[in-house]
Symmetry: C2
Subunit: 333 residues, 2 copies
């Protein structure tokens, strides 16, 4: 049975079966022309939208439907995290090819619903339509934030130190491994990392609430791209320390075995969904508080400079690096 | 030049050039990980999302890019109107085929921006990605509403009268005319109606504010579908009067010349984006106030009944009608 054997109403009913009941702040929920929601007193609304498209962002041959649903929400949660926001609700807009099996539809919703539950986010509505081509999963996520906790890209100052959550490069290694299709048990964690990225919601929230960071951005298009965007928005330069890059052992091994330039792969590999942020040296004390509760390691990887150029230097696994920062990944060029 | 000759940043910059400056309630606008927005005191947020997909909702052979942009926003404004909400902001998520000419991209944004300006709605952010197939334009619209002005589908009671704004069937006639491709000057208004639907934002807002309507829904999937949905949600039946259906002369002529069943076409034709609403007989006075300022005719077309069946009777252009309401249009079955 495929989705084309079902009416829109039947599909919505299958979707709703996987969602918890509406919270009390939903005045009008799924099933009307639009959702009506109470605002949170003294907080601002935060809005983000991101689509993932079959053949561009995922390949159904090696991406289970649960992972598609997970990713569609995770990329949006990552954007909320980068602002320091608390996730609140999401709207789904799905364009479904007629050939999509109904159980894959259910599994996709299941992957999304599981991540939503974990972050206490409510699916408040959406739209289902047929696609004349690829599967497209578009998610709008709404969060809330106190005005003093907003993290933009523009607040970094020369002398601020540059940090990143978790580790980098793992998602690209995992994707390459999945594309190759040769079993390798050691690569299972990297594959998992690519398939089920973990948005750093708690870390972002703590960085904003504690006013520990001067700027923040997520790594959706790679570390080099994030450093470049924050530096440009803030009017500073950046110097990264190659020796400090947090790269998992299996990721190092993977790129080395393929004779790839590990540093370049790690800087330009997208899909990691970690946070890159800057911290004033005076605020290191606040950062220690964040580090204790963020649930993910925070690593200092460089410094913002008054000169506007972007570079990386130092030694990474015996390789001496001294180069301008490469450009990130772009879905257009 | 196509969109694939441009970077995401260049496309965003072309898009921004067509938008007015951000209003003061935008704390963080386009260019960061997410948009941050002040809420409106004592009002609720209203959220809706709708995607239009090339080959499903529009055909680029006869739909100018301005009309694609217009429609993508209009369908969402129509959903806000059906709740009685005031439009506030929109997020765009575009999946662009590499072959899309850059000037068509600009024209599409222009069509959307013109409608946004007309309704005082601000484009607050979005997402651009490549599509591996059709052009997909996904819009999330956010409005605000006072709690006492919310119009749901569920408030109709037996005895309430059923109304519709504007006229019905014109969009289907216009679409059929465009698909046929034979020039016919008399059909230009219907074609325009299909290409540039006018969401009934003011009418919806007044119906909510004046508490004139007991239930409301837009006609995106046709009049019969809207009557069915409101009746089901409200637990009533409905009897429509065929003689009262507001059908434009060129629409009548079009369907008659094609030997089509005009009443059936008008009941099931989608894309009209009018509002169907119900009014308690006691509140007719309030409706008169709405009618004076709505900027569109309001026509009484039937009544809600205690019996749960849905039917249409009466005489339409000499044709006697006495039948159950047909089912509406579905993008899945």
């Amino acid at each position: 049975m495929t989705v084309s054997d079902l009416s829109e109403r039947e599909l919505i009913s299958r979707l709703r079966r996987q969602l918890p009941p509406a919270p009390p702040w939903m005045t009008v929920g799924i099933g009307d022309d639009a959702a009506v929601v109470e605002t949170v007193r003294n907080e601002l609304d935060v809005f983000t939208v991101d689509a993932i498209v079959e053949g561009v962002h995922f390949d159904r041959r090696f991406t289970p439907p649960e992972a598609i649903g997970h990713r569609a929400l995770a990329v949006n949660l990552s954007d909320l995290a980068a602002m320091g926001a608390t996730p609140r609700l999401a709207l789904l807009s799905l364009a479904l090819p007629a050939s999509l099996p109904a159980d894959e539809f259910d599994a996709m919703i299941g992957g999304l619903a599981a991540l939503a539950l974990k972050h206490n986010l409510h699916v408040a509505g959406g739209n289902l339509t047929r696609s004349s081509g690829p599967l497209v999963v578009d998610v709008t996520a709404v969060g809330t934030i106190k005005r003093r906790g907003v993290l933009t890209r523009a607040g970094a100052r020369a002398g601020d130190e540059i940090y990143v959550t978790g580790s980098v490069g793992g998602a690209r290694a995992g994707l390459q491994y999945l594309q190759l299709g040769t079993p390798d048990e050691g690569m299972a964690p990297a594959a998992q990392r690519f398939l089920y990225p973990e948005p750093r919601v708690r870390a972002g929230l703590l960085l904003g609430r504690n006013r520990a960071a001067t700027a923040c951005m997520d790594l959706s298009d790679g570390l080099a791209d994030a450093v470049r965007q924050v530096a440009e928005a803030s009017g500073v330069g950046a110097r990264l320390d190659a020796a400090a890059l947090p790269v998992d052992p299996e990721t190092r091994r993977w790129f080395a075995s393929r004779r790839a330039d590990v540093v370049a792969e790690v800087l330009t590999g997208g899909d990691d969904y970690e946070l890159m942020f800057t911290v004033s040296r005076k605020l290191r004390g606040r950062l220690r508080t964040v580090a204790r509760h963020a649930g993910v390691p925070l690593t200092r990887i460089g410094v913002c400079t008054p000169e506007r150029d972007l570079c990386i230097s130092g030694t990474f696994e015996g390789q001496t690096v001294d180069a301008p920062l490469p450009h990130g990944f772009s879905h257009f060029r």
